[in-house]
């Protein structure tokens, strides 16, 4: 599994089972709780809500304004009650990037489970000190004239990027845009691109 999954403790499964059985016995872990976690995240791992919110913001200027000013109210339109989110907008002159250098804070309710790379030292160490070099390695060249704003999630506030709308997207509907909006673009390590026109 490469560097992202180094040296898993051979006893880890036994350690998990031991604690799990004690927490079941003590009434702390509900029977079926583990299955519910699996079902929830295997069915709903992608940036489902995040992508829908961004597509709405790109197609509805009033919604974009609401999303930037009052994210809680904007998310409520998608039946999500999430009080701790801030949305930062990338433009021609600004590129935003989200990280948590101290642990791995991530806006789970809008983006789902974080990818492993987001939680590993390489990303957490470099995003604040050499974001341009890091993004270049990850396949995104940010022009020198475009300011990079890094958001280090050091408290309970969470950050999501409102990416730049790709040229040509103004003609597309919300429903067409949603599947083009990737998790990586909402973290800020990629931009949204349109499929090549045949």
């Amino acid at each position: 599994m490469g560097k992202n999954h180094p040296n898993v403790d051979p006893y880890v499964v036994s350690r998990v089972r031991a604690l799990e059985s004690l927490l079941l016995e003590k009434g702390i872990l509900a029977p079926g709780a583990v299955d519910r976690v699996v079902q929830r995240y295997e069915a709903d791992t992608g940036p489902m809500v995040g992508a829908r919110v961004v597509a709405r913001a790109w197609t509805d200027p009033d919604y974009r304004e609401l999303l930037l000013d009052d994210p809680r109210a904007a998310l409520a339109r998608f039946e999500l009650d999430y009080t701790m989110l801030r949305v930062v907008e990338s433009t021609e002159t600004v590129h935003n990037l989200v990280v948590c250098t101290l642990c791995s804070c991530y806006p789970w309710p809008v983006l789902g489970l974080p990818p492993t790379w987001y939680k590993m030292p390489a990303y957490r160490s470099r995003a604040v000190s050499e974001p341009r070099a890091l993004l270049r390695e990850m396949g995104l060249e940010v022009p020198a004239a475009r300011e990079i704003r890094v958001w280090d999630s050091s408290a309970e506030m969470r950050y999501m990027v409102l990416p730049r709308r790709p040229p040509g997207a103004e003609r597309l509907s919300e429903a067409v845009l949603v599947p083009l909006i990737t998790r990586d673009a909402l973290i800020g390590v990629a931009e949204v691109t349109l499929p090549a026109v045949r």
Binding site: K3, V8, Y11, V12, V13, S14, R15, V16, R17, A18, L19, E20, S21, L22, L23, L24, E25, K26, G27, I28, L29, A30, P31, V34, Y41, E42, T45, Y82, M84, R86, T101, L102, C103, L113, P115, T116, W117, M120, A122, Y123, R124, S125, R126, V128, S129, R132, L134, E137, M138, A144, A145, R146, I148, R149, V150, D152, S154, A155, E156, M157
Partner: protein
Amino acid sequence: MDGVHDLGGMQGFGPVEREENEPAFHAAWEAAVLAMMRAAGSRGLFNIDEFRHAIERMAPADYLRATYYEKWLDGVTRLLVEKGVVGAEELAARLAFFVTKPDAPPRAALAGEPAPRWPFNPGWLRDVVRETEATPRFAPGEMVVTREMHPHGHTRLPRYARGKRGIIHRCHGIHVFPDTNAHGQGEQPQPLYSVRFDARELWGESAEPNQLVHIDLWESYLRPGR
């Protein structure tokens, strides 16, 4: 604490490795760890700041070697034993059982029916904003300097941003203070700010051009700047 978890600006970890079509969980036990962390936290057995600090207290080499959910397993286990929710002996006995029977379901080690369920607080992770009389000392646009401090306990002022000049970007309201809440010293809520730093202030001549870093910092981390 100046631990290995405080990674901002460290070097030598190499390139970011992305995994194509990454599964939600790489093994079933990972989901069990997630479920246990949430169960214990939401039943009030620890708060999120205690949990983060428990992970920070892993031995540095273990921290760097561990996967994400191994860190969580270590943190949950450490806290529940420290708080006496789980006894060290009963845990050792249960571990001995499952070392010999790693494929047995967790219920296999139970003598009888589980105890009644503990009360549940679904808001435990995000309920950190407090309505108090506190008035924020700083306004957006004001210059501040972060404290140069090296506490042995938990803090959310990253090492790379200590003793640095920044500008208040916005106030997020009055938030529970992790530095005390992680140590059983109460919530001591205080204003939380988004503070903007120029990369040159943080990284000096090594800074990349045209870069800012925003960090969310509690008021007591900050002094007036000019």
